[in-house]
């Protein structure tokens, strides 16, 4: 099993009585009224410190992602954060779970920036291509939801062709036409970095991932029990298409809080958890699934994405720590409790790549570091051997020695 430290970069100063005062944390939450860039300066730097600490603690990967006009996701450009991390880390893989390819014209911009990150980091990049949520794509970026997925697929196809071909060609697509496709630089990894597809339960995405041997990452915010129908659907698709049930084909996102015992966990993590679910996840119901975003087949299957679930969970009621623990949304408690639960998760949904949210909501710095260090020290070693019989073909393969930042100067005249 591999463990990755995932940061959403939530804004930790969302006002009290947030749900009563604002219709949505996303899309139309007034930026100038809520976001204070002076506080933001510290927030960004603290969050980058936390990601860098995760490497030192022993996590395999550090994850950044992409959201727009969002009070719980301050990374409209995950590439900028990954670039900052590339310089101050050297071992952890950089798992960049943006870029929402359909938002970039031409998509070769994504090929360029991802290749820059791969070269800069010494071949440590995992290249994530999410469709992007309806909020990010359709409502914030004006992408037409009726054509979003087709445009996205075409963009990914173009990027991969550019990385594999590595010489000029013309591309006559439905959404992109380019006379000269020839992005510089080329990625360090050959033919290209591993491709991870963050998904939310769309049937077509399962098939597409299996057919192209992409990793499928389900970024659920609701724990592995409620994520199970989606992961079952993915594994059924894997079997139906004749691929192997290699757990490293899949990733799953999990909130976690390590403490001495249950009471201690509540003391440390209840506040930040309730902040996240009651403020950060207060998403305007009108925004979460624009028409055309989900295919008819997906609607008929009745699989809802994490954000759709969020809206259903949270529209009327406030979430409490008890609810989050009882429903398995957050795994918290003693190291043994967490080991047991993650073993159960491995049994039930067969995921080799576990992305952990050790920071959530407005968690203070010292709690984040404590949670991170204890997970790495007390939990990780007991789960390391899970799935060791499988080869992880969805992981960067080191090819160069990573060059550390140097402090250069010239001699005074």
């Amino acid at each position: 099993m591999k463990f990755h430290w995932f940061h959403l970069m939530p804004y930790p100063y969302l006002p009290d009585r947030f749900r009563e005062r604002y219709p949505s944390v996303w899309v139309d939450l007034p930026a100038g009224e809520i976001y204070d860039p002076v506080k933001g300066h510290q927030v960004y730097n603290d969050y980058l410190d936390q990601l860098e600490f995760a490497e030192r603690a022993g996590f395999d990967g550090i994850c950044v992602n992409e959201h727009h006009q969002n009070g719980y996701g301050l990374m409209p450009s995950p590439n900028l954060m990954a670039a900052a991390l590339a310089r101050r880390t050297s071992k952890a893989k950089l798992i960049v779970l943006g870029n929402s390819v359909a938002l970039y014209d031409p998509p070769t911009r994504v090929a360029e920036e991802m290749a820059m990150l791969d070269v800069l980091s010494g071949g440590r990049l995992v290249s994530g291509f999410p469709v992007g949520t309806g909020m990010d794509t359709a409502f914030c970026y004006g992408a037409n939801p009726a054509t979003l997925r087709e445009k996205y697929r075409e963009g990914v196809e173009l990027i991969l062709r550019a990385w594999k071909t590595r010489k000029p060609f013309a591309f006559n697509g439905k959404y992109t036409q380019l006379r000269y496709v020839n992005p510089w630089p080329v990625p360090l990894q050959t033919p290209h970095p591993p491709i991870w597809i963050p998904g939310g339960g769309s049937i077509e995405t399962w098939e597409w991932c299996v057919e192209n041997d992409f990793l499928y990452a389900y970024l659920s915010y609701w724990g592995y029990q409620s994520g199970r129908p989606v992961m079952d659907g993915f594994w059924e698709t894997v079997e139906r298409l004749g691929a192997d049930r290699n757990p490293y084909r899949a990733g799953f996102l999990q909130f976690v809080g390590v403490a001495d015992n249950d009471a201690d966990a509540e003391r440390l993590y209840a506040g930040p958890a309730e902040y996240f679910y009651n403020r950060c996840f207060h998403i305007g119901a009108g925004y979460y699934s624009p028409p055309g975003y989900s295919s008819v087949a997906t609607i008929r299957r009745g699989v809802n994405s994490a954000v759709v679930q969020a809206s259903k969970h949270l529209r009327t009621t406030s979430v409490t720590w008890k609810h989050l623990i009882d429903d398995g949304v957050i795994i918290a408690g003693s190291p043994q409790t967490i080991v047991d639960r993650l073993n159960d998760m491995a049994d039930k949904i067969n995921v080799g790549h576990v992305m952990l949210l050790c920071q959530f909501g407005n968690m203070p710095m010292e709690t984040v570091l404590y949670n991170t260090a204890r997970f790495a020290r007390d939990v990780m070693p007991k789960l390391r051997d899970r799935f060791s019989e499988h080869e992880d073909r969805w992981w960067p393969k080191a090819t160069v020695e990573v060059q550390k930042p140097a402090s250069v100067s010239i001699a005074a005249e």
């Binding site: 899309v27 359709a138 409502f139 004006g142 037409n144 939801p145 009726a146 054509t147 439905k174 305007g284 119901a285 009108g286 925004y287 979460y288 699934s289 624009p290 028409p291 055309g292 989900s294 008819v296 609607i299 008929r300 009745g302 809206s311």
Partner: protein
């Protein structure tokens, strides 16, 4: 259900067209709620007219939209439909999204449309009067609160899917209808129609509900002012779904307009200003 036929486009695609009633022929282009089996507007129109009502592409099957990439290709699609039906110099009546389509057809193919009726038309954007977001409504994807005066659909239009009336199929029907509309109006319903409206040669009547919370009066006025000689009629006690909310008033106004000359050669020769006065009177 109404009688229907399948017509074939030159490239092999097909379209479904409903046909009902007797009398002078009119073509009805429906709005965001599609065509229901008990559609009261079509019933009302069919009392005095042969109503030809094409189902907009995508409403029954989203793959129909795959090769209709923009409003220009949508206008071509309807030109194909009218060509296949052998219809020329038609009377085209559109509602809401359908009125936007009707205006596009009349602007792209001015000789194809002799008389044009735009009821609560979409297709423009005014910065001073931004339209509410029809796709960001709460509860989820429920546009009824925005469209209907009472905040909910009349019983005859309440079920978005005719049969079977199950919750999933209702959701599919709404998703297909709104996706089909969204393709041509997302994120704002402005694809440059303002620049094309002066091309329209048809005698035109613009109708709107006096209490439309979705498309305000300033939009209706701009449509009427940009189409040469267009008349305008505001129906009281009705909102965006005015033909469903006040069918008798709408079609009395429409019939009056038609009787006043819209179907006669004399009227076709008459000036638009004269038409406008008649409607207002």
């Amino acid at each position: 259900m109404f009688a229907s036929e399948i017509i074939r486009h030159p490239d092999g695609r097909t379209s479904k067209v409903f046909r009902v009633g007797q009398g002078p022929l009119v073509v009805w282009l429906h709005g965001p709620r599609g065509i229901r089996g008990s559609d009261p507007v079509i019933h009302e129109l069919a009392k005095r007219h042969t109503v030809v009502a094409p189902l907009a592409p995508g409403f029954a099957d989203l793959t129909e939209l795959d090769e209709i990439r923009n409003v220009h290709e949508l206008a071509l699609h309807y030109d194909d439909v009218l060509q296949a039906l052998g219809l020329d110099a038609v009377t085209l009546i559109g509602h809401s999204f359908g009125a936007m389509v009707a205006a596009e057809v009349a602007a792209h193919f001015p000789r194809r449309v002799a008389r044009l009726v735009l009821i609560s038309p979409l297709g423009l954007w005014q910065d001073q009067h931004p339209l509410p977001d029809m796709f960001g409504q709460v509860p989820y994807m429920t546009i009824d609160t925005l469209l209907w005066k009472a905040g909910k659909a009349i019983p005859a239009m309440a079920d978005p899917a005719d049969e079977p009336n199950d919750p999933v199929e209702r959701q599919v029907a709404i998703a297909q209808a709104l996706t089909s509309v969204a393709k041509f109006v997302w994120p704002l319903p402005d694809r440059g129609l303002r620049r094309r409206l002066p091309r329209i040669m048809a005698q035109t009547l613009v109708i709107a509900g006096g209490d439309d919370r979705f498309v305000p009066a300033s939009y209706v006025e701009e449509f009427a002012s940009l189409i040469r000689g267009a008349g305008m009629a505001i129906i009281p006690d009705a909102a965006h779904m005015v033909p469903y909310e006040q069918p008798a008033d709408v079609f009395r106004k429409l019939d009056g307009w038609i009787r006043a000359g819209a179907f006669s050669d004399e009227a076709e020769a008459a000036s638009g200003q004269k038409m406008r006065q008649k409607v207002k009177g």
